[in-house]
């Protein structure tokens, strides 16, 4: 098992290296002078320009610059945001809990609805319920989620007035946020109604972000279940006279779960990377919205650092999924 984990980590190293090259190259392939880009609109005096050139090391040869960049990375130095003048890593860490909270709730929603839907569809194969569910799943899978978010806002915020349009917490409440997770912090604060407000803010974004994973999970569960339901051991279980609930729930589902877990893991990686569209529509102060804003504000150090951190998050999650997969399915380890 240890050997398996080490091999997986070794596989990541070249990718990680490539990511740093890409992020390093990013600022240098942008049209225009990097120092002037960093300076922004105001422009620079020639002396200041020279000083900055030396300060950022742009007067060094390219390979030297790259090595310095790598050295900085190794010490957690991802540069300074032009706009906020704060280290990119600090910015990212401040916003990441919001993204984590949203992705987690979206995934809970997707699994809680998608898994039972897939199982039910498989057991009613070819019947009306199956077709209706899989039709709905395909619609969910084809959904332009930025539009889906707008529609939900129109109905639930505009017409019914049930949910707020954006943000994470009503302005009525103010309390410290030690964990960065609104659901937890609002409970800790002891403020009446704060938790309910957090839930109301979270619910639409979580549904929007969870829609496509839900569809994928439902489809994957259905096909995995169909495959398993045809196996001999399921027939044996049936022949033993076990109740259909027990056969489906215990014997079949457990074996069908392996591919489903893979899908869940891989989707989690992409969700954590910042739900760009969902966060933008709901003004959710997470990593995805921060990246989009940084791109628009031409805050290139933030974009550069964000790219590296996001890729890192995706890779770590995928690694964990791989390892978890190795635990569940021993056959994988020897491949």
């Amino acid at each position: 098992m240890l050997h398996f984990i080490l091999r997986r980590i070794a596989l990541i190293v070249p990718t990680l290296f490539g990511i740093t090259v890409l992020a390093f190259g990013f600022i240098r392939v942008l049209p225009g002078d990097p120092v002037l880009l960093l300076a922004g609109e105001r422009g620079l005096s020639p002396e200041r320009y020279e000083a900055l050139l030396t300060q950022f090391g742009y007067d060094q040869p390219l390979w030297r610059q790259y090595l310095d960049f790598l050295g900085g990375l190794a010490q957690g130095d991802l540069g300074i945001s032009i706009i906020t003048k704060k280290p990119v890593l600090t910015e990212f860490m401040a916003l990441f809990p919001a993204t984590l909270e949203l992705s987690f709730c979206a995934m809970v929603f997707a699994v809680a609805v998608g898994l039972p839907a897939g199982v039910i569809a498989a057991t009613r194969r070819g019947k009306f319920l199956d077709q209706a569910m899989m039709g709905t799943a395909l619609i969910g899978y084809s959904m332009p989620i930025f539009w889906w978010g707008l529609l939900l806002i129109v109905v639930f915020s505009g017409m019914l007035g049930w949910t707020p349009v954006s943000g994470r917490m009503s302005l009525m409440y103010y309390f410290p946020t030690p964990t960065g997770f609104m659901l937890i912090d609002s409970l800790l604060s002891g403020e009446k109604g704060a938790f309910a407000s957090a839930v109301r803010h979270l619910i639409l974004p979580a549904i929007v972000l969870g829609t496509i994973p839900l569809a994928v999970i439902a489809r994957q569960t259905r096909s995995a279940m169909l495959e398993v339901l045809g196996e001999d051991y399921v027939r044996t279980a049936r022949a033993k006279g076990l109740s259909p609930m027990r056969v489906v729930g215990l014997h079949a589902l457990r074996n069908a779960l392996i591919p489903v877990i893979t899908v869940i893991g891989l989707t989690t990686g992409t969700l954590l990377a910042g739900a760009i569209l969902t966060e933008t529509i709901f003004s959710w102060p997470g990593v995805g919205k921060w990246m989009v804003d940084s791109i628009f504000r031409r805050d290139y150090p933030a974009v550069q650092g964000g790219l590296i951190l996001i890729a890192l998050v995706v890779m770590v999650v995928n690694l964990l999924v791989d390892v978890a997969y190795g635990f569940i399915n021993p056959r994988i380890r020897t491949q």
Binding site: G18, V29, S142, W147, I276, M315
Partner: protein
């Protein structure tokens, strides 16, 4: 897309295979419906300049935010209503179909051409070239595709053309991986050895002997990419990084309409619905193609 897909299936397989393919494909009712919708969309896109009632960019100051004809205050001149500057929504949607289908076609062609070539080389030649190609693909896949596309567009500059290139770049690793895997499994088959013994050169082996037998999954991936390309391009348009106003691209239209969301439902609902229907139709076709082209999955 479907025409190209069926055409290549025809050339790939033995004579009479098209009938067989169609038999399996047409068993899937959803796929046939999807194909019907798709053909209609293609027709609308091609005929848009002829059948659209108005110029899609012409503004009419006397008809701002006119609701659809069935709603109170609707005008028969504007069947689906008008937007905030008085442009006819139906005409814009019809012209939008041209953009979306064009985007899908260009992106898939680009991504497939580059991806299949790289995958073929990686899977056939192996060695350091394979390692190099696959590591680059891993790097691309390490980023969420929309984010990478956004960054690429930021580098290249906003616009439809650059958005298409960016989306093609983020979609092509899937083609590389798929082609490489199929090539590696086909390469050791007897018919390939036989062709090599008969004196076929590596290029002939790659393109004529092996490639046709790897195309099934690639075609399925192409339909998936087609719908992804349309969604991503619309998302980029929505974020202001794709087609620029007043282009009647559906995502861009949505972005322009966002502020009227609570006042005029039609300017927001209809472009999104157009995207959904198009993507859904293509995904239905994709499901049908997968069933028809992959014997293992048949009847499952």
């Amino acid at each position: 897309m479907s025409d190209a897909a069926t055409a290549s299936a025809e050339t790939v397989a033995r004579p009479g295979a098209f009938q067989e393919f169609w038999r399996y494909f047409s068993e899937n009712r959803g796929a046939v419906i999807g194909l019907g919708v798709f053909v209609t969309l293609v027709a609308v896109a091609l005929l848009a300049p002829l059948i659209a009632p108005h110029d899609p960019t012409m503004q009419n100051r006397d008809a701002l935010l006119v609701p659809p004809v069935w709603q109170e205050g609707g005008q028969s001149a504007y069947l689906l209503g008008t937007d905030a500057v008085g442009r006819d929504l139906l005409s814009r949607l019809m012209h939008g179909a041209r953009f979306s289908l064009f985007i899908g076609l260009v992106v898939v062609t680009l991504a497939m051409a580059v991806g299949v070539t790289l995958g073929l080389i990686a899977g056939y030649v192996r060695g350091w070239l394979d390692v190099a190609i696959m590591r680059v693909m891993d790097v691309i896949l390490a980023f969420p595709s929309l984010l990478l596309a956004l960054v690429l567009v930021a580098i290249l500059g906003p616009g439809l053309m650059n958005a298409m290139v960016a989306i093609a770049i983020v979609l092509q690793p899937h083609f590389v991986r798929l082609t490489r895997a199929s090539v590696m499994s086909e390469k050791t088959r007897d018919y390939v050895t036989a062709a090599r013994v008969a004196g076929a050169g590596p290029v002939y082996l790659m393109t004529r002997t092996i490639l046709p037998n790897c195309l099934g999954p690639v075609i399925v991936q192409a339909t998936l990419s087609f719908s992804n390309a349309i969604l991503d391009a619309a998302a980029l348009g929505f974020l202001g990084m794709g087609a620029q106003p007043p282009t009647p691209e559906w995502g861009t239209m949505l972005a322009e309409a966002r502020e009227f969301i609570l006042r005029a439902w039609w300017v927001v609902t209809l472009p999104g619905l157009a995207i959904l229907i198009t993507v859904l139709a293509i995904n239905l076709i994709g499901d049908g193609l997968r069933d028809a082209l992959d014997p293992k999955l048949r009847r499952s």
